[in-house]
Every structure is written in structure tokens, then in C-alpha cells.
């Protein structure tokens, strides 16, 4: 499945030769050929095809991967290292009470259609996300916005109901879309370095560089995301050269083909995907922190991680991954100690253990994890009954109806510790101190204060053993060795492509 842009390649080769020739003449020294091919098209393999092109219409994580930072930009950008930086904002000012943000937009930014970026576009973009009909998962975080005003073309004034120190972070999710664009579920009009060239559902999505881009030109001549439903088929495509990069390896068994192979580069980054066993903290015996802690101590997480991911990934002691600002290593809080587990269970009133049903989603890796937990907990006298359910059942039975004792799930979002501050969340963790800390951490004046409060909350949640956090998925990106410049952390499924270089 190789898309051949032969003409472009031929031209670039000629151009490279010409450049080499002229530089040889000019410098009189060895020819300086470019290290990379600026017109190369990068083929990227992914398992996450977007459902549609509108991130407020349930397009899924695939649209973040394909479009965030590539086709659409936001006022701020969440970089691959986890920092929030201004993007379409040139400068901004926050009032002393923290309620008014004044953003000045960068000048001379144009949309792909040719229209200039104005404050009106920003206003309509924010309203698109907060609208009644919006299915955006970030809608709630923007509820704090009272109003958006546009006194002139380059100024946007956002007034808040209460201080929200995460506002720039939350705004990094809001695509700035041309207000003249009507239906963006099948087309696009953004300010990013690439335009959508073509999309064939079930097959591939092609982006090409935008001539009128305000910022740095991309380092490649375009990108084609090729979508697979089967991880092995994706690996085969990389092996045969049909794709140059795979955005995230899902089956660790396949890694061995690539790891000691000089033709490929394997990068391990830090993902934000946390595998956990969620207790229903409302029901017995999981309403008792001692029982939860006992269970945490009964499970050898290192062994589990090793069995599934080998040398990759990491064990976590809380819901917070290393790329969140309030990360702290809490793996010692309830480290593996089956003796202590048995003691704690006896103290809590369960010397002979007990039994519970573990609702397990039917897709990888949950069934395997469930069996592992069943074995480990049997050693301390707890009987685990595994009940396999589909993803849809999980949403209705567990997420909405809260009808479960314990369940397995993977949570992919960045900075999602806030889930523990919501007593109505499916796991029903209700600690008033944590609720207070999380709610108030929004209203503080600086990132440092927010980080301090959330780190505190993080500790309490870990000590309460609110859930059993098993491990953090590794973020493994594999590429052919002549391709560089791609993001390795892929935070929030973003995959910025403009820096990707392919050697000549």
C-alpha cells in the first residue's frame, strides 16, 4: 500500500543534486547534501481511525491524532513534554482577581480557506465546544466561562465565573475553526500547517502542507495516516515498508521483530494510559480503605507488567502519570506485601477472605489481567469471579448505572485526577478533603499552587487506595531508522507531524 509521489521525489532528488553541485562550487569543499528530504511523504500506521472530522461530534481519539496541531491549532498547545504553551495567542493578560483573561492573537494568521484569523473565529470556536449539542468530552471544563467578548479583531476577552488556573490547558483542546465553516464533520478549515487532502474511510487519510501557513514550514512534503483494524497487519505494513511509523504499538509480543533490528528505531515514551481495577467504593467490602489497601498489597504488579509488556511500561502507585505536573512516586504506599495483606484483611473483619465479581471488558489486556488478579487474590483467600462484558455493557452497567463490585478499565486522559474529586463518578470515591482540594485547586492564582494542592490530593487518594492502579502503558512508537522528529509521548493521543523528517 505505498503511495508513490514519484514526480515529487524525482524533483527533489534533482533539486538535492543541484544544491549539492552549487554548494560544491560555492564552497569549494565537499558537497553538502541536505540530511533529509523536504518533500518526502511520511506514511503513518494507526489503529485509530477518526469516526468523523469534528471533535465535538464524537469523532474519537483518532481525530486528535490526525488533526490536533496538524490541521487545527488552538490558542494554546499541549506540547509532547506536557507543557502548555501559547500558540495562536501572542500575549495574554490575567486580571488580579483571576476572572478576566485578555488574549491578543498573533497577527497575519490565515485559515486554509484564505480567511484571516479574527477574534470572532475564536469566540465561535469556544461556543462550538460549549454548545448544547456538543459531544465534546471537554465541555464541562469550559463551563467556568461566563462570556467571551471580541472588542477588536485581534483581542478576545474571556470572563470566568470563578478563577480557573487550568484555563490555558483547557483551551488547548479548543480547535480554532473559521466561523464561516458550517459542517466540519466531513471537511475542515483550520490554521494548521497541513490541509486535508483526502480521506477514504476504512483506508487512509492524507494531509498536505499548507502554503499560507503562518509558522514554520513542515519538514516533510505531507503525511498519510493509514488505518488498520488489526495490530499484526499494521506491523506487517511497517515490515514491508508500506508505512514508515506506527504511532503506538499495542502488542508487545511483536516488538521483538523491531527491537534488535538496525532497520528500525523503537522509542519508548510515557503514555497517560493507566490500567486499573476500580472498586465500587460505595459497596461492601470496598467501602473500607483497609480492605482496598489489603488488596493492593496482595497483587504483584511488577510481575503483571512484566508478563504483559516485558521491559516496557511502569508500575504506578496512583492515578497520576509522570507527565502530569503533580506526579509523585507513590508506589511505596501499598507495595506488594502479601503477608501484610492477609493481616489487614483479618483486621478489617475478613480473616477468611470474601468473594466478589470482577466485571471485565472483553478486549485486550483486561481478560489476562483479570485472570492474574484472580490468581493473586486467591493466595490471600479472596475469590474473584470473572464476568466478561462488552465495551457497551461497561458504559451502561458500570459507568452509568454504577451496578458493579469491581471492574477493570484503562483510562487514557491527561490530568484526569479530577475524576476523584467527583463523588458521582462511577467508582464513587467520596473523600470530602479530596473533593475540596480538587475543587479549590482550580481557583488558585498560579500553577505552582495548583500543583501543590493536587499533589496533596494525589497522596490522600493513594493512601486511601481508592482504586487499584496496576500499571502505566508504555507509549511505544516504532519507525524505520531513516525517519526522525516524531513525538514520543503522544499525550492525549496527539501526534504532531510537521517535525517528522525522512532521510534522503
Amino acid at each position: 500500500m505505498t503511495l508513490t509521489f514519484d514526480t515529487k521525489r524525482a524533483l527533489s532528488r534533482t533539486r538535492a543534486l543541484a544544491l549539492a553541485a552549487t554548494s560544491a562550487l560555492a564552497l569549494g569543499g565537499p558537497a553538502m547534501a541536505q540530511e533529509y528530504d523536504p518533500d518526502a511523504v511520511i506514511n503513518i500506521g494507526s489503529l485509530y481511525e477518526p469516526q468523523n472530522l469534528d471533535n465535538t461530534a464524537g469523532a474519537g481519539q483518532g481525530i486528535n491524532e490526525a488533526f490536533n496541531g496538524n490541521v487545527y491549532e488552538a490558542l494554546f498547545v499541549l506540547t509532547d513534554d506536557g507543557d502548555v504553551e501559547p500558540r495562536l495567542v501572542e500575549v495574554y493578560d490575567i486580571s488580579d482577581d483571576g476572572l478576566t483573561y485578555t488574549f491578543t492573537l498573533k497577527p497575519d494568521v490565515t485559515f486554509h480557506s484564505g480567511d484571516p484569523l479574527t477574534a470572532a473565529d475564536v469566540k465561535s470556536s469556544i461556543e462550538r465546544v460549549t454548545a448544547e449539542s456538543s459531544a465534546s468530552s471537554r465541555k464541562r471544563t469550559l463551563e467556568v466561562i461566563e462570556s467571551v467578548e471580541t472588542p477588536d479583531d485581534r483581542t478576545v476577552i474571556v470572563t470566568l465565573k470563578s478563577p480557573s488556573v487550568s484555563l490555558p490547558y483547557n483551551l488547548s483542546y479548543v480547535w480554532i475553526v473559521n466561523d464561516a465553516a458550517t459542517d466540519i464533520s466531513a471537511s475542515e478549515d483550520g490554521t494548521g500547517p497541513y490541509t486535508l487532502q483526502e480521506w477514504r474511510r476504512g483506508s487512509a487519510l492524507a494531509l498536505e502542507p499548507f502554503e499560507g501557513y503562518w509558522g514554520e514550514k513542515p519538514m516533510n512534503g505531507g503525511v498519510m495516516f493509514q488505518y488498520f483494524t488489526d495490530a499484526t497487519a499494521q506491523n506487517n505494513a511497517l515490515l514491508t515498508g508500506a508505512v514508515d511509523i506506527i504511532t503506538s504499538i499495542q502488542s508487545p509480543d511483536a516488538l521483538s521483530i523491531f527491537t534488535d533490528n538496525p532497520d528500525f528505531t523503537v522509542s519508548e515514551g510515557a503514555s497517560t494510559t493507566k490500567e486499573l481495577m476500580a472498586f465500587n467504593d460505595r459497596v461492601e467490602p470496598f467501602d473500607d480503605p483497609q480492605v482496598r489497601s489489603a488488596i493492593a498489597r496482595a497483587v504483584d504488579k511488577e510481575k503483571l507488567l512484566n508478563a504483559i509488556w516485558g521491559d516496557y511500561g511502569m508500575v504506578i502507585g496512583s492515578f497520576v502519570p509522570p507527565t502530569d505536573p503533580w506526579y509523585v512516586d507513590l508506589t511505596d504506599v501499598n507495595a506488594y506485601d502479601p503477608e501484610s495483606a492477609r493481616e489487614m484483611l483479618a483486621e478489617a473483619g475478613y480473616p477468611d477472605g470474601f468473594s466478589f465479581t470482577l466485571d471485565t471488558p472483553d478486549y485486550d489486556p483486561h481478560p489476562v489481567v483479570a485472570q492474574f488478579l484472580q490468581n493473586e487474590l486467591a493466595k490471600v483467600g479472596i475469590e474473584v469471579k470473572i464476568n466478561i462484558i462488552t465495551a457497551n455493557e461497561w458504559y451502561t452497567k458500570i459507568y452509568k448505572a454504577h451496578d458493579f463490585e469491581a471492574t477493570l478499565q484503562e483510562h487514557v486522559n491527561h490530568r484526569d485526577i479530577v475524576f476523584y474529586g467527583n463523588p458521582d463518578f462511577y467508582w464513587g470515591y467520596d473523600n470530602p478533603e479530596v473533593v475540596r482540594l480538587i475543587a479549590e485547586s482550580e481557583n488558585v492564582g498560579s500553577m505552582e499552587e495548583q500543583t501543590e494542592m493536587l499533589t496533596q490530593a494525589n497522596r490522600i487518594i493513594a493512601e486511601d487506595a481508592a482504586s487499584l492502579w496496576l500499571y502505566l502503558y508504555p507509549q511505544i512508537v516504532v519507525s524505520t531508522s531513516d525517519v526522525t522528529g516524531y513525538p514520543v509521548n503522544g499525550l492525549n493521543s496527539q501526534f504532531f507531524v510537521s517535525g517528522i523528517k525522512k532521510a534522503e
Binding site: S185, E198, R200, R201
Partner: protein, 317 residues
């Protein structure tokens, strides 16, 4: 013949109508609310109500059915809940992959199965007949996805002759790549299909070989092979045609396994995805279109049989 054709056409349309009714009833009997599927997880009751009004499921069943039939008559299969794209457009795109895949595999299977099946019957008492019989048994036992993976391993990963999967972005506008990506999938389906077809051809042929009319033809002076070709094949073909019709019609959606192995955007994958995502319009659309295909295939098989066997023509008069 023409009257028969018209009669069969009317039956086909009636069958399609009944299928549409059955589909309508079945989808509404299933547990789960399409409106809830449309708005997704975390929707408020008001949003679900609004969605119900949007898709019309708050209407009485009778009114819903009338709207449904009206839409079908205008070839309006609705919009996908998930992609918001036109279901008919998506199905046509998918059919442009599924139909060539299935038909090419079918023709190749015939090319393999008919000569080999005839040979297996004619030489049934020799070793070659036995070998062919065993080979076809193995072919039936082999799972289609396993064969697909094997072919990928050999021709794609090892020899690098063909791509390991996928379909070009611009489809047939990139003809070389499109054909390249179809070779292995077509081969996979054809090999498996030919194994079972071979057995039917062989069985049918064996019956013909032992028949009276063939002996009569020989007695009247025809050579063994001449009689076989002039009389035998045509007679053997009649029962085989019914089987062919069934095999072909099950492959339209049955190719989903091969589509998954080779990452082809076909109709089977569309149905699979629709079911996983609770995308009711897509599911309904694909089932309707594939029912139509099955009915058409049966219709064509019927016509072909009548053309081959004059006795059938008289029998129904």
C-alpha cells in the same frame, strides 16, 4: 421465458419488501435505544429526547414504518450515527471493494474447481482422483484467515512481491496499487471456495458418469470424452449452479474475515464496525443491501438453471 423472468422479478421485489419489514421489526425488537446510541455516553435525558425526535423514534410504530418505506423508495438509507455520512454513499464505496473481491474470487474458484472437479470424478478410481479428493478435504478444513496469514507471510513479508494489506487512498484511480492489494485476498478466498466447489462438481459429475443417458450417447456412437462434454457437463452443471449461488451470496458479507486480515475497506467490515458502534443506520443499510445481493444472486442462479435445463422450463408452465 419472458413471463417467467417477469414473475421471478416480482417475487424478488416482494422478497425484498418482506426482508425490509423483517429488518425493521428485528432492529426495533433488539434491546437498546438507538437514540441513546446516537448521542453517546453521558447524554442527559433531554438530549436523548431530542435525539428521539431527530430520528423519529418517538413516533408510533406505524408512522415510523411508513417513513422507513418512503425513505427506501427514494434510496435514502439515512446517515450514520457515528460518522454523520450518507449510508448509501459509504455502502457504494465499500461495494467497490467487496464486489470485485467477491466476483474475482468466485471466477478464479470456478476456474480452479471445475476442471479439477471433473478430473477428480473421471479419474475417481485412479490415484490422481484420490489425491484431488484429499486436497479438497484439506482445503475445506483450512480456516480462511489462516490461509490469508500464510499467504501474507510468504508473498508479502518474505518475498516482498505484494503489499501486506490495505487499499489505496484513491482506490481505482491508482489502478496498479488497487490490483496489487486485491491479489492476495482474492487468492485466499478463491482457494478456500474452490475446495468445496470441487467436491460438488466431483459429486455431480460422478452421478452423471453413471447415468443412463451418457451410456445411451456412447451406445449411439459418441466418444467417451465427446459425450462427456456434450451431455455430461451440462447435466452436471445444474445442481452445481444452485450451490454456486449460495456460495457466492454467503461470501459478500462472509469476506469480512479476509477483509480484517488484509485491512480492506469492504462491506463486511462496515457491518462489523456498525455493530460494535451501535450504528443503527449503517447496520440496517448493509443488511438491506446484502439481502438485495443475495436475492439477486438467487435470481440469476435460477435463470441460469432454467437456461441450462429445458425440463425446468416446461415443468413450471
Amino acid at each position: 421465458m419472458l413471463r417467467y423472468l417477469l414473475r421471478r422479478l416480482v417475487i424478488l421485489l416482494l422478497s425484498l419488501l418482506i426482508a425490509a419489514v423483517v429488518l425493521f421489526v428485528l432492529l426495533r425488537l433488539l434491546p437498546g435505544d438507538p437514540a441513546a446510541a446516537l448521542v453517546g455516553v453521558g447524554a442527559t435525558p433531554e438530549q436523548i429526547e431530542a435525539a428521539r425526535a431527530q430520528i423519529g423514534s418517538d413516533q408510533p410504530l406505524g408512522a415510523q414504518f411508513v417513513t422507513y418505506l418512503g425513505d427506501l423508495a427514494r434510496f435514502d438509507l439515512g446517515q450514520s450515527f457515528v460518522s454523520r455520512a450518507s449510508v448509501l454513499e459509504e455502502i457504494s464505496r465499500r461495494l467497490s471493494v467487496t464486489l470485485p473481491l467477491t466476483l474475482a474470487a468466485f471466477i478464479l474458484a470456478l476456474v480452479i474447481a471445475v476442471p479439477l472437479g471433473v478430473l477428480a470424478a473421471v479419474k475417481a478410481d485412479r490415484w490422481i482422483g484420490l489425491v484431488l479428493s484429499v486436497v479438497s478435504q484439506i482445503g475445506i478444513a483450512v480456516p480462511v484467515f489462516w490461509l490469508g496469514i500464510l499467504l501474507v507471510y510468504q508473498f508479502s513479508l518474505t518475498l516482498r512481491w505484494l503489499p501486506s494489506g490495505g487499499f489505496p487512498l484513491r482506490g481505482y484511480a491508482q489502478p496498479l496499487q488497487a490490483i496489487e492489494s486485491m491479489v492476495l485476498p482474492v487468492l485466499t478466498i478463491a482457494i478456500i471456495m474452490s475446495a468445496s466447489l470441487m467436491r460438488y462438481v466431483r459429486a455431480s459429475m460422478l452421478e452423471v458418469l453413471n447415468s443412463d443417458f451418457l451410456r445411451t450417447a456412447r451406445a449411439l456412437g459418441e466418444s467417451h470424452n465427446g459425450a462427456l462434454v456434450r451431455h455430461g457437463l451440462r447435466n452436471a452443471a445444474v445442481p452445481v449452479v444452485s450451490v454456486l449461488g449460495i456460495e457466492l451470496s454467503t461470501t459478500f458479507l462472509g469476506a469480512v474475515v479476509v477483509e480484517q486480515v488484509f485491512s480492506l475497506p469492504g462491506m463486511g467490515s462496515m457491518l462489523l464496525l456498525g455493530i460494535q458502534q451501535r450504528d443503527y443506520p449503517n447496520i440496517q443499510g448493509v443488511l438491506l443491501v446484502s439481502t438485495l445481493l443475495v436475492l439477486l444472486t438467487g435470481f440469476l442462479a435460477d435463470i441460469l438453471q432454467r437456461m441450462l435445463d429445458p425440463r425446468l422450463r416446461e415443468a413450471s408452465r
